[in-house]
Symmetry: C2
Subunit: 427 residues, 2 copies
């Protein structure tokens, strides 16, 4: 089925501001709450949110086989579960409905009033009920930087890293959409030079710049999928801030990996940008040397050219961009991650989310965490207001943005932005 | 509210075989499927399964405030979410209904036919939709044994172990009830002495003898709960087999912990035994030295005397018990685990599950995994049929049982039993 929604010649009758992340060629999917307290599945064009539940009820999806309540839900799980064919039919249809040449909805003021909202009038929700969340560790630069700082500078990369898309399980219950603030976590840490730990607020709260992909139902338990098929099971991508408390992490993570250092919060951007929308931005990832084992081998372009940036905005001050990176630097591809994840028969369901791991580029200004940007606190980062940061301060807002750009179109993610509040104090 | 369901003088009018795990003092909760393809929440007395949905519809819960469809569901999540007061009212009422002195249902053949099933006529399901699954590592003996084998025999216990109930996130999507077989997983391993990994069937599939507890809604994100309150949020316990592929684990687990070595399957016993039923079996755990940090300190009896055993049953042969252990050996209590889990504000929901970690006792015949029982394969275990095991063979069934016993009553879990099938081969 052709992805006609990607037609770069198409213009929408809805106004799209210059440099918007959401032209009619994007058509991401999300869930939003209206002022009337109605939750619905939606999409976005320019600065307008579009109620897909209303579109369906008013018969604009006629001819596409959909369950009656496909979009009048508080998650995208059912829609995602329906598979790639349905996603494509719906996205292509939305493009047609909002094409400037199509007058059907354009000229129907009554329907428009029901279907279209201004972004400032709605509130974005978590787009999916995330059953299981896995976080990978697939940036060679990030793994090397961490290895240099905490282990052996001469053998920074662990022996398994070039063979395995290393990953671990994260916590689903604390994944939140952009805009929700996060408390600085309390936790156990071992002060430098001490042998007895203390309990108190983390003193090194960090972000990790990541993306994540959301899957449809992939396999039944016990079976695996081939790397060549894996992309068909990926619905789309979001930006992800993997909040991390470095001091808690350092003390707790051996031998079972990070736990409380990470599970206090994970923030994601609320619009899922489909793999179809990202298709024009395919690129080759870095050469994989040594050649991966056969179950991870793939040919062609399986990485994506997605520009990423991180800014810190102190309270009552302007934001400073502190890192500019790109998803294309990632060593392991999403399809390799997913094939690896099912290689042992592990079941992956609709709405499961898999994070990329911190995306660090090759240069110091493209690192994806304060840990790396300030090199463990040795080189504080200067902000525009004259203050310095080794890690994140209380009341700082961390803002991540991502977009693809070629000569013809810009496809963006919007942002994931969240403020770090002081520690929670029980009243 | 008194726990009258624990009255040891009470007898049921339903027959309870000698030494049954399910006398009228137990009243566990589960979900079962009838031959008519109806799924319902239920309990068990002797070898009878009781349909709580039918009990409610026929008005046997009159006077207890319950939503109309509380029990006509395929999970216990809503019931668990209702909290301790409701659990206790319902469990006490069930004890009354099945008390031999109570003739109401006893003499009503029509109602009995609708409500009561023989165990052999129903099929147990997963009792809860598990949002997040955490697995702890709280047996000092197990952590020490593993440390001796894989790290430093002189410093087997890592420095954080005596201060933190170490835990990590597991995978929810592959948690299955007793009776469902498991395929031997495929995976990457590094053969001894080699530097290049290979991909193939795991050659060291192991069980881990564990229990797990299931929580109600504990906290809102960002807040924590005190260790002194933690037990109020625990609904009950099950037996858990944390299937593990040792060769995959060894190669993949540094630095982020076990992943594919564990997430191919986790088996649990289907009846959740409530904390109320276990209350008579409270005991003190081992002395904690050094004294934990204040947020983990507790007084009184917070461990439980639960006898545990593991048997291996080869195909077409009888079972051999290979380990006898007890939950009371665990160093960290469930309430300490839960308080630690929320200490950073991590949200814990109704239906979340937390595994104890492998339960190894002090003597070699009480170890909770083949890894320890065979000491890394050095001392194969002899079975009754004359064969030996270093790890689990294809078509072996691993059977775990657990029960509490005092002079007055036996409260048991039944079993978690599952067969290891050969690797899945794509047709």
């Amino acid at each position: 089925m052709p992805i006609t929604a990607n037609d770069t010649n198409r213009k929408s009758w809805l106004e799209v501001p210059f440099n918007s992340d959401f032209p009619i060629q994007n058509i991401p999917f999300g869930v939003f709450l209206t002022k009337e307290n109605i939750v619905t599945v939606g999409t976005r064009i320019g600065d307008f949110a579009i109620d897909l539940g209303a579109l369906q009820q008013l018969n604009y999806f006629e001819g596409i086989e959909l369950t009656d309540d496909m979009f009048m839900q508080d998650t995208l799980n059912d829609f995602i579960s329906d598979g790639q064919k349905t996603w494509r039919l719906v996205r292509n249809r939305i493009a047609e409905i909002f094409d400037e040449k199509n007058l059907k909805l354009q000229d129907n003021t009554k329907d428009r009033d029901i279907i279209i909202f201004e972004m400032e009038d709605i509130e974005m929700q978590l787009p999916v009920l995330i059953g299981d969340y896995t976080d990978f560790y697939s940036s060679k630069e990030h793994a090397t930087n961490v290895g240099k700082m905490f282990r052996d500078p001469e053998n920074a990369l662990l022996p398994n890293w070039l063979h395995i898309p290393v990953g671990y399980h994260g916590r689903s219950s604390t994944i939140i959409p952009s805009g929700i603030p996060v408390h600085r976590p309390m936790g156990q840490t071992l002060p430098n030079g001490e042998t007895t730990p203390v309990f108190g607020p983390s003193r090194s709260v960090d972000f990790e710049l990541e993306t994540a992909f959301i899957t449809t139902d992939v396999n039944i338990m016990g079976e695996n999928i081939a790397v060549s098929e894996a992309e068909d099971y990926i619905f789309g991508m979001v930006l992800l801030n993997d909040w991390s408390a470095r001091d808690i992490q350092k003390w707790e993570y051996v031998p079972l990996g990070p736990f409380l250092a990470k599970n206090f919060a994970t923030s994601i951007s609320p619009w899922i940008v489909t793999m179809d929308a990202l298709d024009p931005f395919r690129t080759r990832g870095p050469k994989q040397e040594p050649t991966p084992l056969p179950y991870l081998q793939q040919k062609g372009k399986h990485s994506f050219d997605i520009n990423l940036e991180v800014a810190i905005q102190p309270e009552k001050s302007e934001a400073t961009v502190i890192s500019r990176s790109n998803f294309k630097y990632m060593y392991w591809t999403m399809s390799q991650q997913l094939a690896h994840h099912t290689s042992n028969g592990c079941r992956v369901n609709s709405g499961d989310m898999m994070g990329s791991g911190t995306i660090s580029g090759p240069t110091p200004d493209s690192y994806g965490s304060m840990l790396e940007l300030s090199w463990g606190g040795k080189n504080p980062i200067k902000l525009k207001d004259g203050t310095e940061r080794k890690f994140i301060n209380d009341n700082d807002t961390v803002i991540m943005k991502g977009y693809c750009l070629n000569g013809q179109v810009r496809i963006g993610f919007g942002e994931v932005s969240s403020k770090l509040l002081p520690p929670f104090v029980r009243k």
